[in-house]
Chain length 313, copies 4
């Protein structure tokens, strides 16, 4: 079946991608991090990898982009591997918020003032503070090595221009971090925590890297190519569940209904998603819809999911 | 496999249920509808049905209880069958809220003032207004007949004492409904809409009924006993997705991580859930945790899901 | 001094009013109560009365308009006369909200769920429920007689078209009232309370009536013409304080800084204000600014207050 | 009259102060700035100064305390003197908020994201950024000199232990400041702005100093002893109006009704208030009520205002 599906995918994908690309004109490239504003408005690329090492790609799948919020999935996994479920979820909740990803409202209004989930900014900053390591450099290095291993690509590295751009313009993340500090949620100095956070957000990948990382999740933590377990299955399960309930910002519910796959998007236009047990998928399309997700990417994924009946539900 | 699992379930369930029952003392029976406050604090029952007509039950699975919020799943389905996706989702969103199920905040603060999803009260009241029918009586009758068919039980009926209790004490739902009226979301007179809403909340069932209704969802809308399609598959998919993202009040995210099954709970202590492709499950335990879900029921479901690896993720 | 000031006022007022009238084009007549939308966009009138029975008027001061929120000042006073400070302020607070006058947010979020003050809608509805009387008719009649006495005008009456319009379109006030009912703040049936509320909002007056009512407040509750004490001084003090802190919707703070007089505005474009110890002032200008106050009226009052150094501060 | 009132005050004050002091046991000394927690729970002192240089004092009026939020009134005045009304109110509003003094909610929810008024923390931080000066040191020095002149006391200085304590523990103020930076409200580096802010909060005074500063406001900006105009009258008017609408945290409305005087309190337990045209009053009582105001101080001021009919209203 998968073989046949791969063939049909290979045939359909180029045309479908071009159709979806037309939607890029209705979205907007993120501008709040100056360096991101340089992305190409009409770019769109996708890369699909299966467990036998077969791959399909279409469009601008070679362009590099920073992971941004997509990295939050994997820092959560690393924090879980470092400290276990109980310690992590003592500091961050498991619920969708219905608010903007950078909102402070629930931190102020809802006792006990912990972030609602690890995929909003406040939660991901908290998770960054839970990565093991003597100092921000060591923590960041561990994150980078973990990402490299998952992507099976030792060349993955930070985009320093984006990192500096985020550090300079990240007033709202600083505001969130000091609020968390006030609530006793983060213990380390704010600047140290944000260094780790801004660094993992600015790790640069391409669609193939994302697809490969997704493939590990699609196979419950085992790299299907090497057979090596890179992540305990339970932590993959937790990550995939959050990707369904909170992975696509305030359109997570809609994406779950219309696509039905675990996914995480980033403000750079990247989306990491997967068909569990089958494929890892990496996508990029910097033009964003109002909810902050790649406008053309969501369109393409919805069409693919409906055609191939990929929804988990 | 299923045969063997049924055997193990049959063996384990009585003991596990008694262990879970111990948790009932740490919860509280809902008191905001006076009639509900009469429920038994330490009751706990579960009923599991498979597609071959085999059933397993344990505990107080014969006690009757009103569906309350569980009914929202099926009125959503009926409204979708009556009007289609587009019309329904013009008036109600697809996103979890992170707020209380009866909150008005997002209606006031978030444009365009439609309820965030059909499983919070504001959303379910809106859905009630979308059931076809000339008048509240006709709409309510259609709902009742639909529920009877899904449960394969013609005896299902309203608990009139509960209905009257809700009508009398439902000031907050009235408040929500008038707010929706103000925002132009509901067109019919508020009292008419609430009659339908209060009626379907007060439909009385037992665990076997819930299990049978769940079984239809577990088999994508087809009654596996008769082979008849009762619900189009797409609407089942929508319903199951909402049950994952919003089915367990403000503990939906946690339930998705710890149990991983589509589920909907009610303030009466009922929970309807399913193992897709395998079982329909009905459960009742009136003692509620702080999030409004059956405290012992959630405990039991988590244990079962972990033991039998039922999570979708 | 007052004599001389009256002369200067008489000379300046007609020109100044015409200058202020130019601002009416930048505002908007309220449309949320259909009957109000019929008001004249460019009307502006003012009436000033002193304690010796001297009066000055300018512009369209003869046009009738409904009191709307201006009535809230006097129902508060009547409730205080009926039940005393303690009983009234057990059910309604004394603080400005910073939210819209019809907001529900603080009712939901801030314990114990009582309205923040008697001049927002939720507070005024609560106050309406505290007017003594056997039934809504009797309560309404007492309100009307009280207003007639304060205005020294027995002809004041309801505008029934407006009353009916408000009753029909007042979904948001119904929503607020049911929320208050839920919180236990109002005891009587919601429809009874709203009848009283909608009635006093739709009492029709002109600028002279408002000026006369204001004069009683300006002289601490004593009608300076008859010498009769109509309101205990303490309740006038309370009313005037609320008019400073909450009288002009979400522009109360700005009005206090720029005009500095106790005032209450209504959505009909009316403003009642006073120079304590000197004048009662009634004004109407249906074109409203974004905060819901008469755009030309505020302009004119600011100019007068600066010229004659009327600010209390 | 004033002479006679001074005599009565002198007679009554010692007893009344002791009665009010009994209330200190029902409050709590602020602990969020560690250094403040060392204050004496049962201290209470008051100092009243008139325009002829006569003074009355009672209780612990000699103890030193830091100005905290009381300083916000005078930095507002200095910013107004530096830049004028228009520039200041382009960056900060004029409305009470109804929220906590350190809340971020309205910054996030209400366009255009400027602080609602200059007496909440966000507003006062913004005002600190508007003090003229080349650098934080120069700005702070100008503030200190201004305060010394108003208090006619060259010895007034920073309490460096408190300053350092606030700098170290001021995470929430940092959070607010970065939010303001994000919204473009403050232009200077956050650390520079907060240095000025934390410094003026930690200026140490006693009741006599506060009374003297208040006296200048009570006489419209003119030091009644020297006859020198220290503040333009309009800026005093603005300051006094804010003290009525927002000076006593979320009990400003209540204080206006029950005391009726312009006042500003600080978390150290200080209150600066005045009887316009008559007295300047300084008070300290570190035990705070739930709204953050000196519990015994409010009690004493209410009794005095009622006895001597001091309310402006």
């Amino acid at each position: 079946m998968s073989q046949e599906q791969m063939e049909r995918l290979k045939t359909l994908l180029p045309d479908w991608l071009e159709t979806s690309r037309l939607h890029t004109s209705q979205g907007k490239v993120a501008s709040y991090i100056p360096e991101l504003a340089k992305s190409s408005q009409d770019a769109l690329g996708i890369f699909i990898a299966d467990s036998q090492g077969k791959v399909i790609s279409a469009g601008d799948c070679g362009i590099p982009f920073t992971m941004q919020s997509i990295s939050k999935v994997f820092t959560l996994i690393l924090a879980l591997m470092d400290h276990g479920e109980e310690a992590v979820f003592f500091n961050v909740g498991k619920e969708p918020t219905g608010d903007d990803f950078d909102s402070m409202i629930k931190l102020e209004l809802v006792e006990p003032g912990i972030p609602f989930n690890p995929l909003i900014n406040a939660g991901a900053i908290t998770v960054s503070s839970l990565i093991s390591g003597e100092n921000p450099q060591e923590k960041s290095e561990r994150v980078l090595q973990f990402f490299r291993k998952l992507a099976a690509n030792d060349k993955i590295d930070y985009n320093l221009a984006v990192y500096e751009s985020e550090t300079e313009s990240g007033h709202l993340n600083r505001s969130l971090a000091y609020f968390l500090k006030q609530n006793g949620i983060i213990k380390d100095p704010v600047d140290d925590v944000l260094e780790v956070y801004f660094r993992h957000c600015s790790i640069e990948v391409n669609c193939a890297d994302l697809a490969r990382m997704a493939l590990v999740l699609a196979f419950d933590g085992v790299d299907p190519c090497s057979g090596e377990e890179l992540i305990p299955r339970r932590y993959v399960q937790i990550a995939k569940t959050f990707m369904i309930t909170c992975g696509m910002y305030n359109a997570s519910g809609e994406f779950a209904i219309d696509v039905g796959l675990p996914a995480k998007s980033g403000v750079s236009g990247g989306i990491l998603t997967m068909v569990p047990g089958q494929y890892g998928i990496g996508l990029v399309g910097p033009s964003l819809n109002k909810r902050g997700n790649s406008i053309a990417g969501v369109h393409l994924l919805e069409r693919l999911s409906k055609e191939f009946d990929w929804s988990l539900f």
